[in-house]
Symmetry: C2
């Protein structure tokens, strides 16, 4: 994993939920670094989300404080106080203002944050700070994840290398309990804040906002993009800058790779399926149809069974609420096999051809609506026994 | 089961999917009977749905033809031709016009209807017609249902008894494959067609349109209300009629009982849970919140595990998209146990109290939003291993 100049990471074991494993991470940004972020739109957002939003408005962050094992969500006033206390503890240890600390939590909802445990190991995490800390940090933020998620891109500008490195956790998109999605990206470039925010928003849409494991949106989701400014290259200040396009491309690639890894590691997932909807009247309807397919429990159980049960896909398209859909013009494909044409099963379709695609570990469901020029892509996984097992047995 | 004067039912074994069990039903209506119906809104509606809609516009039905085992959906032009052929076969056997036959199918999508098999046993079903045929018919229309669903109400007007009897099938709300929802109700009253349709629409909303097993809507759903007119009572012609209110009440009760039975028999279901959302700004938002909870795979797996994982319910409320939701004013209850108040876990809540409700076979999740006077009720069930098993292994 490529380190990013101007960004150091450290981790420590606070024993928040499980003893003996790192569950607290500190990310330290160089002075003058800029920070952009997007957060969950869930109305019941967690205390650290509310506080991180506020601190981000108030100034330039120097430190990110992340814990796994406890979401500090559904904790009312006490939750906000606990998030403040932890920020204060880290600010005190680092000698900065409390507003310069952004807090993030993931884990069980509704239990109070064990602030004392966090406080005790904050000095350990600070002492552990190093540019090469990405790998350990990416493990420390895991909950039901079965593996860490890291990605990196590098490009050169006039012989000067620019790095974009990111890590993420999340094992459902997006679970209120143990599978909140958190993602942290950093570059050594200097990038103006507004531009950084626009770049992040553009990268998040086709990546983290186009994946689904079970359609649930966490109270704690957050994605942060840091520009440390440690690079010798001049600051990027507008979208016409020759560097901006390559930077934005690298950010999007890192986001896409992390998003794909999250779905691949979806709770109980055995398959990665891309749902592509083409020739829609506009992007909104393309996304509606794609998500209706990607969320359907019947489609997802058929994926698990490798059953080319195309009727379920057709029915999902039909119930997605498109005004005046001409079903005779809809085509549905599994990779290169056409399954639906002229309002019914394609005449040249065979079960063997469909089944051979469905047995693949990764494939594409493509729907062509013949209504316009817009399209959308969504990544999803199957619904297996293990999904029920993980979510029925967790906590008990 | 109470028979309805002016309505006879017969069934026969056509061997459409399984040999040796009845899978074809004919319902015969007295001359002059009226018929109201509601159908699926899925754009990929099945051939019999398209044809039944058309025939209903063209005249007064005398015969309903229902088959299980094959949905005749996703079958294109051939499907429509096959539905027409079957209607013609029955019309020929009964000596009526083809427009007087309404066709209904439930079963596998995308296979052509075996019209020859239907044709061979139509005379058997006709010979079998009797007013007491409800029980056998309710079994003949089953697919993944584990038990037949029947309900009946009776009231008296001036000493004359009026009967409303209904049967339904459906084991998911509402599956594209084997669990299409079909429901047939009949009364001996004479009721004007417009009134009958309004009565059905009003009864369907809180019953069949307020249940969910997995959020999928079939290509074949239909609900029919027959008024045979065999009663000696005068025809009901307006909503101010003293009889209308009692009739409408009986229809709604029968629909509610059948809807409840469908969820209880949901694929893999072990629990029946009513989600009640109160004090919403309007009914639309009340239903949005109720369905967001009722569809959440995380809530449903928690129900299966009897785990009072209230964070999942809170997160579902939070992501249901209510503009300006004041989370401090939201209360969430499991039966009589308050779990969320003031934006977090209720101070007097205990896990034992929550768990004792969750272990019940039937209970209520109640959410109070404190935003207005509207409410909504939705019935749902849990998501179990058997749901995955049934839907992953079916067809293979």
């Amino acid at each position: 994993m490529r380190a990013v100049a101007g960004v150091r990471l450290g981790s420590a074991a606070a024993g928040i939920r499980v003893a003996g494993r790192d569950d607290l991470v500190v990310i330290e940004l160089a002075e003058g670094a800029e920070c952009a972020a997007v957060f969950t739109r869930n109305a019941f957002c967690a205390a650290p989300v509310a506080l991180a939003r506020r601190h981000l408005r108030q100034g330039s962050p120097r430190l990110l404080l992340i814990n796994a094992g406890n979401a500090n969500a559904g904790t009312g006033r006490q939750g906000l106080q606990d998030a403040l206390t932890s920020c204060q503890d880290l600010a005190g240890a680092a000698g900065c203002n409390i507003e310069q600390v952004l807090p993030f939590s993931t884990g069980v909802i509704g239990e109070n944050l064990p602030v004392e445990r966090l406080r005790q190991v904050i000095p350990d995490a600070m002492a552990d700070l190093e540019p090469a800390g990405w790998e350990r940090a990416s493990r420390a933020i895991m909950t039901t994840d079965t593996r860490p998620k890291l990605a990196s891109r590098r490009f050169e500008v006039d012989g000067v290398p620019v790095t974009v490195t990111g890590m993420a956790k999340g094992s459902g998109m997006i679970h209120p309990d143990m599978a909140t999605m958190l993602a942290y990206l950093a570059t050594d470039l200097a990038v103006e804040r507004k531009l950084l925010q626009a770049c992040l928003a553009a990268a998040v849409k086709p990546s983290f906002n186009s994946i689904t494991v079970d359609g649930d949106t966490s109270t704690n989701d957050a994605c942060v993009l840091i520009a440390s400014g440690a690079s010798s290259l001049p600051p990027v200040t507008d979208t016409n800058s020759p560097i901006y396009e390559r930077f934005a491309q690298a950010v999007q690639e890192v986001c896409m790779e992390l998003a794909r890894d999250i779905v691949r590691d979806g709770e109980g997932a055995t398959k990665l399926v891309e749902v592509v909807v083409e020739q829609a009247a506009d992007e909104a309807e393309a996304r509606d149809v794609a998500f209706t397919i990607a969320h359907s429990p019947l489609v997802k159980t058929a994926l698990f069974a490798s059953d080319p049960n195309w009727g379920r896909i057709l029915a999902a398209v039909g119930r997605s609420g498109l005004e005046g859909l001409a079903i005779d013009r809809v085509e549905i494909w599994l990779d290169d096999v056409c399954i639906v044409r002229n309002g019914g099963r394609a005449s040249d379709y065979t079960e063997q051809a469909g089944a051979s695609v469905m047995r693949r570990r990764e494939f594409t469901i493509r729907v062509s609506l013949d209504r316009g020029g817009a399209d959308a892509r969504v990544l999803t996984c199957d619904l297996s026994y293990d999904y029920v097992k993980i979510n029925a047995e967790y906590r008990t």
